[in-house]
Subunit: 315 residues, 4 copies
């Protein structure tokens, strides 16, 4: 009797428990009550999805202070058949934690993920002058390590760390930017599109056809001439030589919006390589604004007009 | 028994016999052996076509020295349901003719169509200093009038006028520009499109959406972003107030070329008023050049890609 | 004793007395009380200016119904050292006049300048069905001819014609467009610039560098990237072959405005041939609107910034 | 007697000895024989320059595989009065090193800088399946740590590490991309410009005026309309909120090239914040190519033409 593999039900995220990524996953209604798999890096998370082990993976894609998470952007470029199906925002704040009994004056070395360290640098330089830094793979891991060895005197950790580890908080909210936020995306292996909501985002990877001054300009015109605004554009090296880039793009709207579909057609004709990463509801639920001239009805009417001119029946 | 009106077989042209327009009509194989109706102005010619009296009408649309024939351009804007189905070039040269016995020294007043007069002005100023000008509705009419009254001493006339009128030639080739040429179009009332030849032209009338600095730029981008070159662009007043224009456009290519069809879609979405005047073979039979990236196949492939993404079967 | 030629004091205009051109000249305060020279065509008017016979010449440059006056546009392209120093608007309305005793029912043939005839065509077709048309060099001349011969039964004439000729008015205001207006310019041979008023216009003739699809687009960008709006853009054949055009341009602003000066620099670098026809106050005295970012101060500040970077003292 | 602080003579670089940054500094003729200060991060290096402790600092700015070094890009944005005065390329290759006696089969944990680790990941996954990773602040530090503790069994290190530490090489050239290269810049606190060489680069930081779809397009047009090519464009968050970016730009040419100076003027007028980071010779010494129309002479001629029109003497 043939055996079919059961449909996956787990969700993968960058662990351990207590990370901001876990906080993002907690925002997903469908994930409630399911198994949450803590993994070590974005590669493992995506592998879970591609292999069918997990339904979806939550991964950080951009930080308001540090910028695009390049490991994620590159992974999405290199792992095929992935689709972003949702976007989530998590406010980022940091505490300084230590073993019980440690005071701020005792701190000489701080363990922290490099990105978090960079975001707390001003506070640390003022409060812990002359401190050293040990890089960690995650802030939760940095905090946990305090209990395992004494290489560091303190760690930068997310709020709520005391739920997971028996540590003391030396200071709260030590990030340099009080409004810092990290953007996460939920990634699945599916070709089904989330339904348009009017407040959607479309993510793309686009290579430029050649290294000439007008190529980027021409790519942007594909959006501008259809009234499509970009909320993110970032270059990443293709990796084969200096000066060759692909662009990570978030565009306002859904592939089922006529103006976006038409922009994608233009992009595809222009670029040697376009990857569609998905259309999905924006985390901030802000409705996309566009002028009437880019309304679906305008596109449909123009198509009917052209069909009549060339003697085709309307589709 | 019901009577059906017979299909028209005549061709209308700006007469009388001997005009450059007649020379253009002589280039049309289909018109050979049919009735040629000489009419008085472009309005009459188009009325013949719209009313079904003539199969088609030959009308001048541009002169290499004097520019667009505005009466024709405006008539095409105002008479609906017309299509340009062919384009023809006629070299323009002028003779100075007079009654027998007249010498150049006897000439004080010259009868001529104003456009022809303008094109012979330098020669006349040198050879007939201080002469006066009487405007005529056509040069052939100017020549004919020499035999009817003595208001003028000479007339500017097309070569071959002696075949029609008993006059003497005082000078040949008096036009200021030896390479002058007039472009004619054959206009019919049909929705059938001439088949693409690879050496085609598409004529359009386009209104700009509003009077802002970017509107014309944006219209031109509709062509440029699809690799469509323009061989003619001319503004004509819409007529209701100063500063409001429509544009007369000749674009390289056929509406059945993918890049042209896509440009027309873009134009239609952008403009409050686009009139498609026809796609037809160029008179000079020069093949349209365009880079590979605007090839039909590129457009079709992009459409298939998009359809797969949104889960539509390829059409 | 050496004799110096006296400074010219006359103003030239397209005559005879009673034309719209004369009405335009009547709007020029400086011309009041001076000699007004009626000439036969725009060429003569410009010759008067270039030769020093007249201070300035008033010439029609655009009609709201018929479009640019191509003879004027071409003359300005071909006669060097001319500058437009003022702009004037004259409402265009037409009367139908005849010899005393003639009634509308008696009219079979109408004498009129072709442009005026075209603008009254709808009224004439309705009121005088089946009439014939005799073209005249001006409407005033057409009216005058009624008293000299009986070739025509009526003439189209400007209002006020009865001041000059003993005729009867058969109908008033017979133009198809009640808001028709003609734009005139006052042309002089001077290099002095009228002072900026904030409501100015700059007229230019610009050739495109070559016949490629992007050239016109690129020319327009010279204006758009400096926030300069165009109120007129019209193509005129250069005349040597089909498909080669120069552009007649009216741009909002004065050459002494920083944004206009910078646009002119861009144009000059781009185009093989730019002719500056003048900066002068607009007839409608409408202040030019532009966003703050194109303010003179922004340009000056940027220049100072650059000078500091490259170690130049501010000029 | 007043004491003047002596001119600095040292050069700072990211240490310790043996890093790629040191290899870059070795390419600077002026640094030969001077003191080289090894520092711990880019912030320290720039502080040395600003404080006057060092003449200049060598810092990594871009890696062909990993992209822009964001810490450097952000530091250049935030530390004022710095200028890039030179650019250097260092091929990147990696060896796997261990304590004497260790074989590849013994390796379970690898110490490495995260960027280096990412670039060797494919080789490590194949050769050391199931290995763990400990992040280090530099690869040289990772190698040195092998001799201090046994947390890791091996380290990724630059070629030549054996000159500094008594270790054994387990494998050479383990990077995934054999052509990987890192780009370094030499930064000083000076307002003097390196002389133009015809093979120069200009580095800029530019903020967009507001978050609208056309702003980036408009910025790029400032370069494109002056024929200036970009070799790098990368967005970095300004840091105050998601969706606000500044752009890190490398443009072909020198600020003393007319076309670049004009592009900078356009940028400065457009952007709320432009930082000029310097014009300096390219590492690859490739001459900048541009069409004749952007030649210095064209700019100078246009300026003289404009000055004549507005009655200014040529400067």
């Amino acid at each position: 009797m043939p055996q079919t593999s059961p449909a996956p039900t787990s969700y993968s995220f960058l662990g351990p428990a207590g990370t901001f990524t876990e906080a993002a996953l907690a925002q997903v209604p469908e994930a409630a009550g399911k198994t949450w798999r803590a993994v070590n890096n974005v590669g493992e998370a995506l592998t879970d999805v591609v292999s069918g082990r997990s339904v979806a993976a939550m991964i950080a894609i951009e930080n308001s202070v540090d910028g695009g998470v390049t490991a994620t952007q590159d992974a999405l470029a290199n792992v095929p058949n992935l689709r972003i199906i949702g976007e989530y925002l998590v406010p980022v704040s940091f505490d300084l934690v230590a073993r019980h009994g440690t005071t701020l004056a005792d701190v000489h070395t701080v363990n922290a993920h490099p990105v978090a360290y960079a975001q707390c640098r001003a506070w640390l330089d003022a409060a812990v002058p002359g401190h050293g830094h040990i890089p960690a793979s995650s802030n939760v891991a940095a905090a946990a390590a305090l209990l395992e060895n004494d290489q560091a005197d303190a760690a930068i950790a997310p709020p709520g760390i005391l739920k997971h580890h028996d540590l003391a908080v030396l200071a709260t909210n030590i990030g340099d930017n009080p409004n810092a936020v990290t953007r996460f995306v939920l990634v699945a292996s599916t070709s089904e599109l989330p339904a348009p909501t009017g407040a959607d985002k479309t993510s793309l990877l686009v290579e430029l056809p050649e290294d000439h001054s007008g190529a980027l300009l021409e790519m942007l015109e594909q959006f501008a001439t259809r009234g499509v605004n970009l909320s993110l554009i970032q270059s990443r090296p293709i990796g084969d030589e200096l000066g060759r880039y692909r662009f990570v793009i978030d565009a306002d709207g859904h592939i089922l919006d006529e103006r976006m579909a038409d922009a994608l057609l233009g992009l595809r004709r222009f670029s040697p390589n376009v990857t569609f990463l998905g259309s999905y509801p924006r985390a901030d639920k802000r409705l996309i604004e566009f002028t009437d001239r880019y309304d679906d009805g305008i596109f449909i009417e123009a198509r009917d007009w052209l069909r009549a001119l060339i003697g085709q029946d309307p589709a």
